[in-house]
Structure formats: structure tokens, C-alpha cells
């Protein structure tokens, strides 16, 4: 029972990843794209944890979700918000 639930969770996470990746490429508003990209990184961190590599998950959560988002927001504040 637990294996089935874990498998379902993994499939759900991967589906969310694909949806997020397509959405980042499609969204025209830069700030929204950055926020969707942050949620992509957060889900990716959980996927790394599911692949039993917790240190990579830690780096993904800190760098992929935190620092990348902050740097991209800093870049947006320097340039235009819409494409």
C-alpha cells in the first residue's frame, strides 16, 4: 500500500514538474515566470529527496529556489517586467 502511494506521489510530482517547465516558457510576464520557476525548484528538491540524495535536495532548495529567484528578481528590477 505504501509503495503504491509513494509511486502515485512521484508521478504527481513529475507531472507538476512538466507543467511548471512548460508554463515558465509560455508565460509572458517575467515576475510570474520567475515565481513559477521557484515552485519548479521546490518540487525538484522533493524529487531529489525521493531519489535519496538529501544533500542535492538541500542545495536545490537553497540555490535553485532561493538564490536563483532572488537574483532573477534583482535582474527584473533592473530591466523591464514584460517581454
Amino acid at each position: 500500500m505504501t509503495e503504491v502511494l509513494t509511486e502515485a506521489l512521484n508521478v504527481l510530482l513529475l507531472l507538476f514538474l512538466v507543467v511548471c517547465a512548460i508554463a515558465v516558457a509560455q508565460i509572458r510576464d517575467m515576475l510570474s515566470a520567475v515565481i513559477v520557476f521557484a515552485s519548479f525548484g521546490l518540487i525538484m528538491a522533493i524529487v531529489w529527496q525521493q531519489l535519496s540524495s538529501p544533500d542535492v535536495a538541500m542545495v536545490e532548495a537553497a540555490l535553485g529556489t532561493g538564490v536563483t529567484t532572488l537574483l532573477l528578481i534583482a535582474a527584473i528590477s533592473k530591466t523591464r517586467r514584460t517581454e
Binding site: D55, M58, G66, A74
Partner: protein, 147 residues
């Protein structure tokens, strides 16, 4: 960005992120994570405060010049720790044969050179992230073509 919710939240959360980052750095030889992960977490908290308040508050925590010095110092400490092994007569980055005290397995202050190297690596990564952020924010203003 002048948002009160963002300011208060980041001011409340930042100390906990920093303590967690230091915890991950210091337990690098015992648990998942280490110098890179902990340094990234610690640097992210510094950048978070600098971005949610303003650059003056961020520079009060750690200025651009201090971050640059710490960045070079972290790499230098790594190399010097490795060269201790050469000076004693063992290999580069030697641990037990260079005479570092190994301690008990599972204790915080153990594993000799790995503990020291992880600490230097954490300082290096955290200050690198801060320097990256400051370079993006201040880069154009320093070269004098900001609009």
C-alpha cells in the same frame, strides 16, 4: 520594494535560516550537506535581507569588500589546510598522517582536516553568493552607464 509583510517575514525568518546554515556547515562530516549546502543556505539568508530591506541594511550585515575578502580567505584557508600535510611530510590534503586529531566517530569535533576544510568552504560559498548578488545590483552603477 517597500513591502511591510516581506520585511517583517524576512526579519523573523533570517536568523533561523542562518542558524540552520551554520548547523549544516558544522555537521558536514556527520550528516547530509556540508560546506557547499550550508554556505548556500547562509548566503541565501544574507541576500534575502539585503533584497527585502535595502542595500544599506544589507551592507551593515556584510559589505561588498568584506565579502570579497572572506571569499578569497576561504579559498586560501582551504589551500593552507591542504599544505599543512605537505609541510609535515605527508601528501597534499593528508588527514591522519598530517597529525590532525581525529577524535571519536560521530562527535562534532572529529574527522580532523575535513571539519576545518568544510568550515572554510562554507565561508567561501556564502560570501561568493553575496558577492554575486552585489555585483548584479551594483555592477552597472560602478561602470557609470546606469539609466
Amino acid at each position: 520594494m517597500e513591502d511591510q509583510i516581506v520585511r517583517i517575514t524576512s526579519r523573523l525568518v533570517a536568523p533561523f535560516i542562518q542558524v540552520y546554515g551554520i548547523y549544516v556547515i558544522l555537521h558536514g562530516h556527520l550528516s547530509p550537506g556540508g560546506g557547499f549546502s550550508g554556505g548556500a543556505i547562509f548566503g541565501a539568508s544574507l541576500v534575502l535581507v539585503a533584497l527585502s530591506f535595502n542595500l544599506e541594511v544589507g551592507a551593515k550585515q556584510i559589505s561588498h569588500d568584506t565579502a570579497s575578502v572572506l571569499e578569497s580567505g576561504g579559498a586560501l584557508g582551504f589551500v593552507i589546510t591542504g599544505l599543512v600535510g605537505v609541510a609535515v611530510g605527508a601528501n597534499f590534503l593528508a588527514n591522519r598522517s598530517a597529525g590532525f586529531p581525529l577524535g571519536e566517530v560521530g562527535e562534532l569535533f572529529s574527522a580532523g582536516a575535513i571539519f576545518i576544510i568544510t568550515a572554510f568552504l562554507g565561508v567561501k560559498v556564502a560570501s561568493t553568493i553575496v558577492t554575486l548578488f552585489y555585483n548584479i545590483i551594483e555592477g552597472e552603477e560602478k561602470s557609470g552607464n546606469a539609466h
